[in-house]
């Protein structure tokens, strides 16, 4: 079968393996060693690593630059790009540059509003939105053209990803928005962190019923809870996040010193269910500032060793 990008993530998914991706937030400074330290925990544990792009609208080392460090360390990056900080010229330029350096996956996002971050006074660009970004990357890859229609000399063969939030209102529309992303040209989806399993099952069922899961690889988003405080914060403060009360009760019931372990246990149970769930092709593990725990989680979730696909 002919691959679109030839990335490891694409190969793993195309071969029918259950994919397992990780995430790494670049540092708030120029220290590349921090990227290397975090990457070391993820090596051999995941098929690709998302490199966030000024996540929560806080300035960090640029996503493509941290992605290059990852490549040098022998890991495969999934280069995240948000629409908040660049116009279509800068986006296309970065896509070309990233690909020239060997980056083969990218994740197309709108981006958190700048008001959340450390420069709330800044101008939000949003020249194009995430849907239009997906279509632009596809046009560059499949038609060999810039957004303007001009011919590209050298085509970026990206494996195109996007996010989906099955929980944010209006729920009824979420599966249609997924369909729009597929029509725009997305190859894989990584979902928002899942805690409300019932709602997620319903969303996947609808996606299955509409035939969408045959057209796109869905990776279920998992973030293990480290503490009750973190769970409460995500429940109350993070827009679009759905943390049911019984998840919090379960963590509270774990007892002193055992909450983090209970969080990992819950995550592993989720992963077990996702392995069997029709329409789900993998898991995206977002162990936020908990990269060193990834080997343990991967081990306990039974996703090791990672497949090697030629």
């Amino acid at each position: 079968m002919e691959l679109k990008s030839g990335s490891n993530l694409e190969k793993v998914l195309t071969a029918g393996h259950f994919a397992f991706t990780g995430e790494l937030g670049p540092p708030r400074g120029a220290n590349g060693e921090e990227v290397k330290e975090k990457a070391a925990h993820l090596k051999g544990m995941v098929d690709a690593v998302n490199i966030t792009d000024n996540q929560t609208a806080m300035v960090r080392m640029s996503s493509w630059a941290a992605s290059l460090i990852l490549l040098q360390e022998g890991l495969e990056p999934n280069f995240q790009m948000v629409c908040r900080d660049r116009n279509r010229l800068a986006m296309q330029a970065d896509i070309l540059g990233a690909y020239a350096h060997g980056i083969k996956n990218m994740l197309c996002l709108s981006g958190d509003h700048q008001q959340f971050g450390d420069h709330p006074q800044s101008l939000g660009v949003f020249d194009i939105d995430s849907m239009q970004l997906i279509a632009m990357v596809k046009k560059m890859r499949d038609e060999g053209q810039f957004l303007s229609g001009a011919e590209l000399h050298g085509v970026p063969k990206m494996f195109i990803g996007a996010a989906a939030n099955p929980f944010a209102e209006p729920f009824e529309w979420r599966v249609h928005r997924l369909a729009k992303k597929i029509n725009a040209g997305v190859d894989f989806i990584q979902t928002q962190c899942i805690y409300n399993m019932e709602k997620f099952r319903e969303w996947v069922k609808r996606a299955n019923d509409m035939g969408l899961t045959e057209k796109v690889h869905i990776l279920a988003g998992v973030t293990p809870m480290k503490s009750v405080g973190m769970a409460r914060y995500m429940q109350k403060k993070v827009p679009g996040m759905d943390v049911p009360e019984d998840v919090i009760k379960r963590l509270q019931g774990a007892g002193k010193g055992k909450v983090a372990d209970e969080g990992i246990k819950f995550a592993c149970e989720q992963i077990e269910e996702f392995k069997e769930m029709k329409g789900v092709d993998g898991v995206h593990l977002m162990a936020i500032e908990w990269e060193h725990k990834v080997p343990e989680i991967a081990e306990r979730a039974g996703v090791l060793p990672r497949p090697e696909v030629d």
Binding site: W173, H176, K180
Partner: protein, 223 residues
């Protein structure tokens, strides 16, 4: 209408501190309706300036007048005979009116007394809300009469994003999510089909100064 907000008094006073004869020019249209720069506001600001400059031992000779529309030559003409008596002009019109005034009297320093805010609606007396960014390519037909460019904090053409929070925007609980409202309205009208297709990137037309010449009209030819 165009909605404006009067600048802080200290800022206005500071701009004018070196001028001894100032004419305060109000505008009788949008800024009068939104209580920022009409005849009444001209009276109040002029009195405030007069008093403050006296207290500062820096008295100023102030004139005041309000024209029907500062963005219209026909009405500005009435000022021609007055302006020469003053060494600076203060305008309480919107940004367009201020510039048209400055353009007509290029030798006179012109200062803004208001911050022009947005194109909006009158929710109640003294309460105005933005509704239009004048993008030059209206999509309201597709979006159920709710503007995603203005009302979505990210100006998304293919929303809603993942930050919708029980119908609110991620930036604030009190800010409704534009795309949530669009969905609800179109759903009730049985018109969800109109947002099923991916909207292509916008051809931004507000990146250079725009001109409109209506059908049947033309710019006068240059000599």
């Amino acid at each position: 209408m165009i909605v404006a907000k009067r600048k802080p008094f200290e800022e206005i006073k500071n701009m004018l501190k070196d001028y001894k004869k100032v004419l305060n020019v109000g505008c009788g249209t949008c800024v009068a309706v939104c209580l920022a720069g009409g005849e009444k506001e001209v009276d109040v600001l002029t009195a405030e300036l007069d008093m403050a400059r006296k207290l500062d031992n820096n008295p100023v000779e102030l004139g005041k007048t309000t024209v029907e529309r500062q963005c219209d030559r026909e009405y500005l003409e009435a000022l021609d005979s007055m302006v020469e008596d003053y060494d600076a002009l203060l305008s309480m019109a919107c940004g367009a009116g201020i510039q048209f005034l400055a353009e007509r009297y290029p030798d006179k320093p012109v200062f803004p007394a208001v911050d022009t805010s947005f194109i909006g609606v009158n929710q109640d007396v003294g309460w105005y809300e933005e509704r239009c960014r004048s993008c030059s390519s209206c999509v309201l037909g597709m979006t159920g009469g709710i503007c995603p460019v203005t009302m979505c904090a990210k100006g998304l053409y293919n929303g809603p994003c993942g930050g919708t929070n029980n119908g609110s925007c991620e930036i604030h609980q009190d800010q409704p999510c534009a795309w949530y409202m669009i969905y609800e309205r179109l759903s009730k009208q049985g018109r969800l089909d109109s947002i099923m297709e991916v909207v292509p990137p916008q051809d931004w037309q507000n990146q250079t100064p725009r001109t409109v010449i209506q059908p049947g009209y033309k710019k006068p030819e240059k000599d």
